[in-house]
């Protein structure tokens, strides 16, 4: 595509790198920004810069957090004996929305997929094992709540293998979630039920 301005071209190139956004959509967004008042673009770019420079991950559970330790890990109302292992923050949000779960989380940051360059060492699995091993750990149960895809299954197999000799119970969410589907897309009722009806991992 030919652009009337280098500035527009550069903005379009950057925005179209985002997932799900093609050049056409990017151009529409850019033209929209130009039409709006300059302040709104400043606010947008500031929000993005702050997001990237100040975002942190909870040092216990690796969920996205504004502080060193996240609000779930610091809450007094959460059960500390149970940890739910999920792929990313979206899964934490989905499970929180069910209101069925009152324990803690552990966010892996992905699933094992060497084809995409992600080995076990690229996830927070070692940190999970350390968390279970610390003397002060109150954790009695680990729930593996991963998407029922081949990647999710392999990751669950791997984690179970690594922690099965520790004195914790390992369970997996019941398969109310459609097979081959993503956790994120499961409706709240199904997801809530599959957490309460979790089964022992074998």
């Amino acid at each position: 595509m030919e652009y009337p301005s280098k500035l527009i071209e550069e903005a379009v190139n950057q925005i179209s790198k985002l997932p799900g956004i093609g050049k056409k959509t990017a151009l529409r967004l850019v033209l929209h920004l130009i039409k709006e008042r300059p302040e709104s673009t400043t606010a947008l770019s500031e929000a993005l810069t702050n997001l990237r420079s100040q975002i942190r991950f909870c040092k216990h559970c690796f969920n996205i957090s504004d502080h060193e330790v996240c609000s779930i890990c610091t809450s007094h109302r959460r059960e500390r004996s149970i940890v739910c292992v999920v792929e990313d923050t979206r899964d934490v949000m989905a499970i929180e929305n069910t209101s069925q779960y009152t324990g803690l989380y552990h966010v892996l940051g992905g699933v094992i997929s060497p084809v995409n360059g992600i080995g076990p060492a690229d996830l927070t699995i070692e940190a999970l094992i350390e968390r279970l091993n610390t003397a002060s750990s109150e954790i009695k149960e680990v729930i593996l709540a991963l998407s029922p895809t081949m990647e999710g299954d392999t990751t669950a197999f791997y984690i179970n293998k690594r922690i099965k000799d520790l004195p914790v119970k390992v369970s997996t969410i019941a398969r109310g979630v459609p097979v081959g589907g993503d956790l994120e897309y499961a409706d709240e009722i199904t997801l809530g039920r599959s957490i309460t009806g979790r089964t022992l991992f074998n």
């Binding site: 060497p114 076990p120 060492a121 392999t154 690594r162």
Partner: protein, 365 residues
């Protein structure tokens, strides 16, 4: 089962075509490059959800943005409309009636076709992958569990090989990670091994029957070759582990299986004449036809591409014999020479509907 009607829009060199076929013999005649093979490919596409010859983006007519194919299949009293549309850049949509299939694999196997193009000797000449693909595609059409095991095995194999590369690049090793894929390979590989063995023992006698029918005094052999005959998958993976780490790929398993084609005690690829290779391929395809027929309970559609051009008289006579005895179901035959096929069919006294193909236009004679 037969194809009653076919409608093509922007499929290869066809802009817009609608055709009625008869339930037995349909002949397509026309000059080289007129679109005869393309029409067979459209039927192949409707049956197996893909072209027999090329990738999806080459199927859309040059300069267009989409293609559409629709076929009306009759099985007994039951009429079913199958359609497929593909917009370039989007996912293809396959429908039975008005209902879209969730997975393409749900459609594969419902309306089986067998394509015989005697010139295509890849099956004989190329590496073992071509032969595995040939048999895998037949077994997968008969057995859902086999298809699922194949998908799982291929997934685990790709992941395991990438993992081996990561180990080498980062100078690390994680036995549990390797084991995560090994257990998947073992589980699915055992299913594939068992079912290949079972299938080939059913396939061999049917194949041999057809080979000796086509070539009277020769014996052809077919053998399933697998390392799993001697060593189980689990033991094989364990004993190859050092080698795998060194070579950064998996050196044991059903992805190394082969099917040996043997003629007169020697390897067909090296010793077989061109004619013998063609006969071998035709016998394989006719056996595929009969096995699919036995399992499905009806005859698959048979697509014969340029068969009269590429075979000698003796072999043609054998095929005509099968047609005369009504052992084949609905047939689509292409021929660049209009009179030859007509004469051959008149000679054995069977009637056929003849279509003339000319630059993407088709007329019934």
């Amino acid at each position: 089962m037969h194809l009653k009607e076919l409608k093509l829009t922007n499929f290869k060199n066809y802009q817009e075509v609608r055709l009625d076929f008869q339930s037995k013999i349909n002949v397509l005649v026309g000059k080289n490059g007129s679109g005869k093979t393309n029409l067979l490919d459209a039927i192949h596409y409707l049956s197996l959800t893909r072209s027999a010859f090329c990738a999806d983006n080459f199927v859309i007519r040059l300069g267009e943005q989409f293609f559409f194919v629709k076929g009306l299949f009759q099985t007994g009293k039951n009429l079913e409309e199958i359609s497929c549309s593909l917009q370039s850049g989007s996912k293809k949509v396959f429908k039975e009636g008005v209902n879209e299939y969730g997975k393409l694999s749900d459609h594969v196997g419902k309306y089986p076709v067998v394509l015989i193009a005697p010139d295509d000797t890849e099956l004989v000449k190329e590496g073992s992958e071509e032969r595995r693909k040939f048999f895998d595609s037949i077994i997968a059409q008969l057995d859902r569990q086999y298809l699922e095991a194949l998908i799982q095995y291929n997934y685990a194999l790709k992941q395991r090989n990438s993992l081996l590369k990561i180990f080498a690049e980062t100078n690390s090793f994680d036995a549990v990670a390797l084991e995560s894929y090994d257990q998947l390979l073992i589980k699915s590989g055992d299913v594939i091994f068992r079912k290949r063995k079972e299938f080939i023992s059913e396939f061999i006698p049917v194949f041999q029957k057809y080979y000796s029918f086509i070539v009277a005094d020769e014996v052809a052999l077919l053998e399933y070759k697998t390392e799993l005959d001697r060593t189980g998958l689990e033991a094989g993976l364990t004993s190859n582990r050092q080698r795998d780490l060194y070579l950064q790929r998996t050196n044991f398993g059903i992805h190394r299986d082969d099917f040996h084609f043997i003629l007169g005690g020697g390897e067909l690829k090296k010793l077989g004449s061109q004619g013998q290779q063609k006969s071998f391929i035709i016998a394989l395809k006719l056996a595929q036809f009969e096995i699919l027929k036995n399992h499905k309970g009806f005859k698959p559609i048979l697509l014969l591409d340029d068969i009269f051009d590429k075979l000698d008289d003796a072999r043609i006579a054998k095929l005509l014999d099968l047609i005369k005895r009504d052992e084949l179901g609905q047939l689509f035959i292409t021929d660049a020479r209009p009179d030859r096929t007509r004469e051959l069919l008149e000679h054995i006294n069977v009637s056929a509907t003849i279509f003339t193909v000319e630059k993407g236009q088709i007329t019934k004679i």
